[in-house]
C-alpha cells in the first residue's frame, strides 16, 4: 500500500511543483489588487465583463495618473468559474501578496460572499460587492468587513414597488392590486420574500410567488400559471439564460412585457437580445446608467485599449456588466484615497481600506471629476451603513437598447433598515458576535 500512497504524494507534488515561487516583495509603493473573475462556465459573460472592467479601471489609473496618489496598483486575476470552493482557493492564494497584502477582495458571486465571511473578517480584508452580496451585511456593526455598496436586493425591491406606485398614480392606488413574483429558485431569487410580504401588508396589495427551478430553461408551466393569476404587475428575477427564456414564454402566454419588471441581473444586453422581439417593452431596475458616452470610457479607450492593455473586447465598453466593473474600481480606489488622507500616501492594509470605505463619500461633484457623472448615484458610507444610500433607476428595452424611463428613485430605507438590523442581530446572536459601537469608532 505504501507505494500507492507514495505515488499519490509524488503525483500531487509533481502537479503542483510549478506553483510560482516568485518574489512577492515588489517596490514599497505598490498596492496589490486581487481580482477574482469567472471567464469560464455558464455565467462567463457577467464575470468577464464585470471583473475585466474592474481591472481596466485600475489599469487606467496606472496609465493616466500613475496609480492612486503615487501608489501603483498591481492587479492580478484568479479564475473562479463562479464556484465558491474555487473562490476560497483564490482568496487564500492572493490575500497575502504585495507589501501590505490585498487592499480589498471582490468575491464574485453571493455564494462566495457567504463562504468568505469568517475568513475575511479574521484577516481584516474588506469585501466590496456592488449589486449583490449578503443583504443584511449592510449593517456594518455586525459585518465590519462587508460592503454591499450602492444598493441591496431589499432596497431595490422597495424602489420597484415605489416605481409601480408612481405608474399607478400614487401608493394608495396599490390597494387590491395583484403582483406576481416570479423568481429563480435560489438564494438571491428568494431573498426578497420577507420585504415583499411587509410591503403587501402596508400597501394592501396581494403578492404570490412563482418559483422557477434553476437553470430555468423550461418555464412554460410557470407562465401559464402566472396568466391564470391575472396579475397587474409581474416581478421577474431571472439570471443567465433564464431571463430570455422567461420573456419568450411570457410573450407566448400573452402577458404584456411592459408590465414585467426585472431585477438588475436581468438588465444587461446579454439578457434580452436572445429573446428578440419578445423582450421589447421589458422593464428592469438598475443602479447605474449605461452607454459608452461617458468621459471615463473615453479615457479607458485612450489610455488602456489604444495601448493594447484591455481585458475584454473593446465593444463591450459601456455595456451593463462593464459599467458595474468600473463602479467596483471607482468605489474601491476612492476608498483608498480617503484612507490615504489619514494613513498617508503609501500602500494600505486591508483594515486601512476598510476605514476608507467606512468614510467614503462620493458627492456628485467628485463623481463628475471621475468622469462618471450620471453613471452612478451619490453615496455616503458610514460605519453603521455599509450600503451608502444609493438610488435605483428603471430602464426599458426598446428592442435595440436600454432606455432610462425614470429618475433616481430612493428606496424605502425606513422599511428596509429595521429588517436588515433584525436579520444582522439574529446572525450576531448565532455567531456570538458583539456588534461594534459605531459612536466609538474614529
Amino acid at each position: 500500500m505504501k507505494l500507492h500512497q507514495v505515488g499519490m504524494l509524488a503525483l500531487a507534488c509533481a502537479m503542483v511543483a510549478p506553483a510560482p515561487a516568485r518574489a512577492e516583495g515588489g517596490t514599497a509603493m505598490e498596492q496589490f489588487m486581487p481580482i477574482a473573475i469567472y471567464r469560464t462556465g455558464p455565467y462567463a459573460p457577467g464575470g468577464s465583463g464585470i471583473y475585466g472592467a474592474y481591472e481596466d479601471y485600475l489599469t487606467l489609473l496606472n496609465q493616466r495618473d500613475g496609480g492612486v496618489n503615487g501608489v501603483k496598483l498591481v492587479p492580478e486575476e484568479c479564475e473562479t468559474g463562479y464556484q465558491p470552493d474555487r473562490m476560497i482557493e483564490c482568496y487564500e492564494r492572493q490575500k497575502g501578496k504585495g507589501p501590505t497584502g490585498a487592499a480589498a477582495f471582490t468575491p464574485s458571486g453571493t455564494g462566495g460572499v457567504y463562504a468568505l465571511i469568517d475568513r475575511m473578517t479574521a484577516d481584516k480584508i474588506p469585501s466590496v460587492t456592488i449589486g449583490y452580496g449578503r443583504t443584511d451585511s449592510s449593517d456594518g456593526r455586525v459585518f465590519p468587513y462587508f460592503f454591499p455598496l450602492i444598493s441591496n436586493y431589499w432596497s431595490e425591491n422597495t424602489a420597484t414597488i415605489r416605481f409601480i406606485g408612481e405608474k399607478e398614480g400614487g401608493m394608495e392606488k396599490l390597494k387590491g392590486k395583484k403582483i406576481a413574483n416570479v423568481v429563480m429558485d435560489f438564494a438571491a431569487g428568494r431573498e426578497t420574500q420577507p420585504i415583499l410580504d411587509a410591503q403587501a401588508k402596508r400597501y394592501g396589495f396581494e403578492v404570490t410567488t412563482f418559483p422557477i427551478a434553476p437553470p430555468g430553461l423550461d418555464q412554460r408551466a410557470v407562465w401559464l400559471q402566472v396568466r391564470q393569476y391575472k396579475p397587474d404587475w409581474v416581478l421577474f428575477r431571472g439570471w443567465g439564460a433564464a431571463t430570455p427564456t422567461g420573456l419568450k414564454e411570457a410573450a407566448r402566454a400573452g402577458i404584456a412585457r411592459d408590465r414585467i419588471i426585472g431585477w438588475w441581473w436581468s438588465g444587461s444586453e446579454e439578457d434580452v437580445t436572445p429573446a428578440g422581439a419578445a423582450a421589447k417593452g421589458f422593464i428592469t431596475s438598475q443602479f447605474h446608467a449605461t452607454g459608452a458616452n461617458y468621459p471615463v470610457f473615453e479615457d479607458i479607450k485612450k489610455y488602456v485599449y489604444a495601448k493594447g492593455l484591455g481585458n475584454v473586447e473593446e465593444n463591450r465598453i459601456g455595456s451593463v456588466y462593464y459599467v458595474r466593473g468600473v463602479l467596483h474600481g471607482a468605489t474601491i480606489t476612492e476608498a483608498m484615497r480617503t484612507a490615504m488622507k489619514k494613513f498617508g500616501n503609501k500602500p494600505l492594509t486591508g483594515d486601512q481600506v476598510r476605514w476608507g470605505l467606512e468614510h467614503l463619500t462620493m458627492t456628485p461633484e467628485r463623481i463628475k471629476e471621475l468622469g462618471l457623472e450620471g453613471l452612478m448615484p451619490a453615496i455616503s458610507v458610514t460605519c453603521a451603513d455599509h450600503e451608502g444610500g444609493g438610488a435605483i433607476r428603471f430602464q426599458q428595452w426598446d428592442g435595440e437598447k436600454w432606455v432610462m424611463i425614470s429618475d433616481w428613485i430612493k428606496p424605502d430605507h425606513e422599511l428596509v433598515r429595521p429588517m436588515i438590523e433584525a436579520s444582522a442581530a439574529k446572525y450576531a446572536q448565532e455567531k456570538n458576535i458583539t456588534p461594534r459601537d459605531c459612536a466609538k469608532e474614529d
Binding site: Q5, P20, P84, D85, Y114, D185, R190
Partner: protein, 354 residues
C-alpha cells in the same frame, strides 16, 4: 531488491489477514500518516492546508463513498452530491438543534441519515439494472435538491437559502483554525479509509464484487444480492454524507444547495473513473487529480507572468484539463490506481527486468 515479499513469513492468522502484510508497506503507511498528521500541519502554509489539502481530503472521502457503490458493487450512481447534501443538512440540524451532542457523534449521525436515504433510493436498484439505476439516482439528485430548497425547516427557517455553519467544538476544543480543521478532517478521512479497505475485503465486500461481476451468478452461488446492494448504497451514502458535512462545516463554512449540484456528482464520478474503479487508493488519486490539476495549471501559467493573457489562461485550464483526462483514459483505462500497481510490480523485480 529492498521491496519484496520473499522472507516475510507469516506465523499467525492475524498476520496473514493484516491490511499491509509487507513490513515495508506497513512502515511506509505509518510514516505517511505521521507526516500528513504532524509534519504537514507544522510546515505547510494555511493556503496549502486550508484551500488545497482540505478539499482534497474531503472529496477523497466522497470518492471512496461513490467507489463503494459504483466501483465495488457495480451500481452506477449520479446522486453522490445529493447524499453529501443530506449529510450536510442533517449535520447542520443536529449541531444547531441538539447542541448537547458532541460533534463527532453529530457527524456520525448525519452520515447514518444520509446512508438511510441512500438505501431508500437503493431499493429501486432491486427492480432495475444497469443504466436505469443511474437514472434512479439522478432522480435522487433532483428530488433532494428540490426538498432542500422547499422545506425551510431544513435550513433553520432561513429565507435566503444560505446558512453560515456554526463552529464545531467538543470538550473545550474548537475546530476553528485552519490546521485544526485539517487535522480533524485527516483523522476522520484516514479512519474511514481504513474502515473501507477492511470492508471491501470482508464477506460483505466480496458480495458486492460478486454482484458487480455477474449478478445472476452471484445469486446462484448463494450471495444475498438484496442485502449486498442495499448495504452498498447505505455504506456509500454514509461516506458521502460525512464528506458533505465536512465540506460544509470545515471547508466552505456555509450550507447551500448549490454546493451539492449535479456538477459535483459528476466531478466525483470523474474522480473514481480517473483514479480507478474498485480501489480505495484510486479514490485518493482521482481526487488529487481533479482538485490539484486546475490549481496547478493556473499557478503554472502564472510563472509566465503577463506573457500569456489572462483570458487565454482561464480557457487553457479547461483545455489542458480535458486533454489530460482523455490522455490518461487512453493510456490507462483502469485509472491511476492501475499505474501504481504496475509500478509496484516492477519495483518487486527491480533491478531485473523480468
Amino acid at each position: 531488491m529492498f521491496y519484496r515479499d520473499a522472507g516475510a513469513l507469516k506465523t499467525s492468522y492475524a498476520q496473514d489477514a493484516a491490511l499491509f502484510p509487507l513490513a515495508f508497506d506497513r512502515r511506509a503507511m505509518i510514516a505517511l500518516v505521521l507526516v500528513a498528521g504532524v509534519v504537514v500541519p507544522l510546515v505547510a502554509s494555511d493556503y496549502w492546508l486550508g484551500s488545497i489539502l482540505l478539499p482534497f481530503l474531503i472529496l477523497s472521502l466522497a470518492a471512496i463513498g461513490l467507489n463503494i457503490v459504483t466501483g465495488y458493487a457495480g451500481q452506477l450512481s449520479l446522486g453522490s452530491a445529493a447524499f453529501m447534501a443530506v449529510g450536510a443538512y442533517a449535520a447542520l440540524n443536529l449541531v444547531a438543534r441538539v447542541p448537547a451532542l458532541p460533534f463527532p457523534l453529530s457527524l456520525a449521525l448525519a452520515g447514518l441519515i444520509a446512508g438511510l436515504v441512500s438505501a431508500l433510493f437503493g431499493l429501486l436498484s432491486l427492480r432495475i439494472r444497469g443504466f436505469y439505476v443511474a437514472v434512479a439516482t439522478l432522480a435522487a439528485q433532483f428530488f433532494i435538491e428540490w426538498l432542500c430548497t422547499h422545506v425551510p425547516w431544513l435550513l433553520l427557517d432561513n429565507h435566503s437559502g444560505v446558512v453560515s455553519t456554526p463552529t464545531l467544538g467538543w470538550l473545550g476544543f474548537e475546530v476553528a483554525s485552519i490546521p485544526a480543521r485539517y487535522v480533524t478532517a485527516l483523522i476522520i478521512v484516514a479512519g474511514l479509509a481504513v474502515l473501507a479497505m477492511n470492508l471491501v475485503r470482508s464477506e460483505l465486500g466480496r458480495a458486492w464484487m460478486a454482484v458487480r461481476d455477474h449478478e445472476t451468478a452471484a445469486e446462484l452461488t448463494g450471495v444475498d444480492t438484496v442485502r449486498a446492494k442495499l448495504s452498498a448504497f447505505a455504506v456509500s451514502g454514509f461516506y458521502c454524507g460525512v464528506a458533505g458535512a465536512l465540506w460544509s462545516f470545515l471547508y466552505i463554512g456555509t450550507i447551500e444547495i448549490e454546493a451539492f449540484s449535479l456538477h459535483r456528482s459528476f466531478q466525483i464520478l470523474f474522480m473514481i473513473i480517473i483514479g480507478g474503479l474498485g480501489s480505495v487508493m484510486g479514490s485518493f488519486l482521482g481526487a488529487a487529480f481533479i482538485v490539484l490539476l486546475p490549481v496547478a495549471i493556473t499557478n503554472g501559467a502564472a510563472v509566465f507572468g503577463s506573457a500569456i493573457k489572462p483570458d487565454v489562461i482561464a480557457n487553457l485550464e479547461l483545455m489542458i484539463f480535458g486533454a489530460l483526462i482523455v490522455g490518461f483514459l487512453i493510456l490507462e483505462p483502469h485509472g491511476l490506481a492501475r499505474l501504481v500497481s504496475h509500478a509496484k510490480a516492477r519495483l518487486r523485480r527491480w533491478p531485473l527486468r523480468y
